[in-house]
Amino acid sequence: MDLGALQDSIRDMLTTECPRERVVRHAQHGNGIDRDLWSKAIALGWTMISIPEENGGLGLGTDALALLYEEAGRAAAPLPLLSCLLAVQSIVASASPAQRDSWLPRIAEGAIVAMDAPIGITSPGLSLSRTGGDIVLTGTVRDLLDGADAQLLLLTAADAEGRAYRIMLDVAADDLTIHRETLWDRGRSLSNITLDGLKLSADRAWLTTSEAEEALVDHAAIALAADSVGGQDALLDLTIEYLKTRQQFGRPIGSFQALKHRVADHRTRLEGARWLTRSAVAAVTAGLAHHATEASAAKAQAAADYIDLGRDAIQLHGGIGFTAEYPCHVFVKRAFLNEQLFGSRTFHLNRAAAPALCGAV
């Protein structure tokens, strides 16, 4: 598969179907996923990218997904890609063949799956017990990304012996009501879910391992790093374009050195974040020993760079940057949320530096 061609096709679709006006309108009037856009992404098979070939997908790896995330970040697209593709990975890594056959086609057809944070970032919110052939779930899952837009939930649970599971819940069939918590970033939302003795058939659960969960952390870290790189690229381009066209004192404001130097610094940091993220993608794709370090380093750094650029981008635009009709704020809100999702800055910095601190480098 030619990844360059894949990236071009994703970018073309988002340029046409998810232009700036659409994203800005969504930020003002929408909340959560842009469903029409999601239908188009499904029609193009974006959730098939990492589904194995024997399940009808393309069977591509992290390198392909990273391109998708980068493009989605560039467009600031309100899509549940991360949630759904994490779920695919969890199913492929840990579920039984029968479970794969029942859930992967639904995801391929467009069902949105919300995932709680992998074990390692938080511990399982649900406790699992058994009666007869059924499982019983109790507990609270917090901060479930895209939960209110999801048809399926893939949650973590632990049993009395401390074994960890992933459990698939079906929002409609299991009669769940999910309340939306609105975020500043209107392209995503969070939900908290409390279960009080929900009984499900045992085939909804599969055992997960710490390796599988750690791999999900890597995946989420790379996704958010790539999204941040794409977002920075777009926001920096937008800002540079503005500096070239906006005139004050009879000249383009971009001719003031104080402003030039700042975008030069942001570009430099972006190049660092871009290549660090690619290096992390390579490490994870090839299963190199330092994959966790590299993925977390990319996430922590790219998200922080994105925030710093975002802060400056509004400033460099002046008043227009502080309007809802201009896209700056959409990127800025996305940047701040990226830093907090799937592990805080502190979590990822510590994960990144752990080998160095342990003298294992």
Partner: protein, 400 residues
């Protein structure tokens, strides 16, 4: 009538008594549940709260107590003002946001350049009538380069006829009057020389005000369009062509005095954040370290503001240089602080909060506070413009 004896203003010379009187007065005077009312009721509720609060302040003689006596204020001492602002913050009072221009920009301008008639009429309108003003300086093509403004005012007999457009006017949709800069002489040699300063009644025919949506889910600033709007010649402030010079006075107030209350609110918020975070996010050693580094910066801005007030007492027209430092210290400090608290709150800080509108710049809704901090880093002379001013005017570095 018993309450007359201990109104805060009447005991303002005795600081302890003043504080006690404020603590006694504030709980009954602050509009009850104002935050909830505004969060649920939006713009109309915000207006109600502002009007109620302003009336309470005005009835107690406190709305304009911060005005120097030369403006007809109570001439509160510096220490009394610090107490006043910190007690407001401590009691969770709203800021009188709707009246910002009425309470600061307009009186500063009138005091320095208004005729006695203008002063009497307009200062009184604010003092007792709660008249809302806005500032119409910026234009789409004239922001940092304010002197290039294009809005035209042509003299025809006893009136000026105004055509053009202003933008970013805070509270413009609610204001009765506008402090308006317009070009009266397009042929003047320097662009600064052709500008005049007017009082414009926004209810005049030909005025259209359009609110602009902001990233905080508010629409606090506006575009104002002028289409053959007639302004009586008596509404000119100062001389024709003196507008630029007068505008500097208005801006000095914006850069200095206006920041005083905000600084006291930040100092209060810092203590509250320390209390709130002690058992949660301040346990993180990194967050704690970052948090403590703000303490000296907050003390420094308080000291700078105190210095500015001392200079203004000596010379009500002075304080230019210090006001510039105040502005350039304050904007970035506030923005750093609210960015820090946003990030320190983790995912919690990313949850959308319905606007509280007038809770100040340290409202506790950290991300909203972060967005609003641009009001201080862009408006009234951006950080970059302030840096140019410091380096070129004060430090004598060559112009770039």
């Amino acid at each position: 009538m018993t309450s007359l004896i201990n109104t805060p203003v009447s005991v303002a010379d005795d600081l302890d008594a003043f504080r006690d009187a404020l603590r006694h007065w504030l709980p009954g005077a602050i509009p009850a549940n104002w935050r909830d009312r505004i969060r649920k009721g939006g713009e109309p509720a915000y207006l109600d709260v502002q009007r109620e609060w302003y009336k309470a302040l005005a009835d107690a003689g406190l709305a304009t107590a911060h005005w120097p006596s030369a403006w007809g204020g109570a001439d509160l001492s510096l220490d009394a003002q610090i107490i006043f602002y910190s007690e407001l913050a401590r009691a969770g009072a709203p800021m009188a946001l709707l009246y910002t221009v009425s309470l600061y920009h307009m009186p500063a301008t009138m005091f320095a350049y208004g005729t006695p008639e203008q002063r009497d009429r307009y200062l009184e309108g604010v003092r007792n009538g709660g008249v809302v003003w806005c500032q119409g300086f910026s234009e789409p093509g004239a922001g940092s380069d304010l002197a290039s403004l294009k809005t035209r005012a042509e003299r025809r007999g006893d009136t000026y006829v105004v055509n053009g457009q202003k933008i970013w006017s805070s509270s413009g949709q609610h204001a009765e009057f506008c402090l308006l800069l317009a070009r009266t002489d397009p042929t003047a040699k320097r662009k600064q020389e052709g500008i005049s300063y007017f009082i414009c009644d926004l209810r005049s025919p030909g005025v259209t005000v359009r609110p602009i949506a902001q990233p905080t889910a508010e629409s606090e600033f506006n575009e104002i369009f002028f289409d053959d709007v007639e302004i009586p010649a008596e509404n000119l402030i100062g001389e024709e062509g003196q507008g630029w010079q007068i505008a500097q006075t208005t801006l000095t107030t914006e850069r200095g005095l206006l920041i005083f209350e905000c600084v006291e609110r930040l100092a209060q918020a810092y203590r509250k954040d320390a209390d709130d975070g002690r058992d949660t996010w301040l346990r993180d050693p990194v967050a704690r370290h970052q948090f403590v580094t703000f303490y000296p910066r907050i003390r420094a801005i308080q000291a700078l503001v105190a210095q500015l007030l001392a200079e203004l007492r000596e010379d009500p027209h002075g304080g230019n240089v210090t006001a510039t430092y105040v502005k350039l210290y304050w904007g970035p400090l506030l923005q750093d602080y609210v960015q820090f608290t946003t990030r320190a709150q983790g995912l919690e800080g990313q949850r959308f909060t319905e606007p509280q509108r007038c809770a100040g710049h340290n409202s506790g809704d950290a991300f909203s506070d972060f967005l609003w901090s641009y009001g201080w880093t862009i408006a009234g002379g951006s950080n970059e413009v302030m840096r140019n001013l410091v380096s070129e005017r004060f430090l004598g570095l060559p112009k770039g």
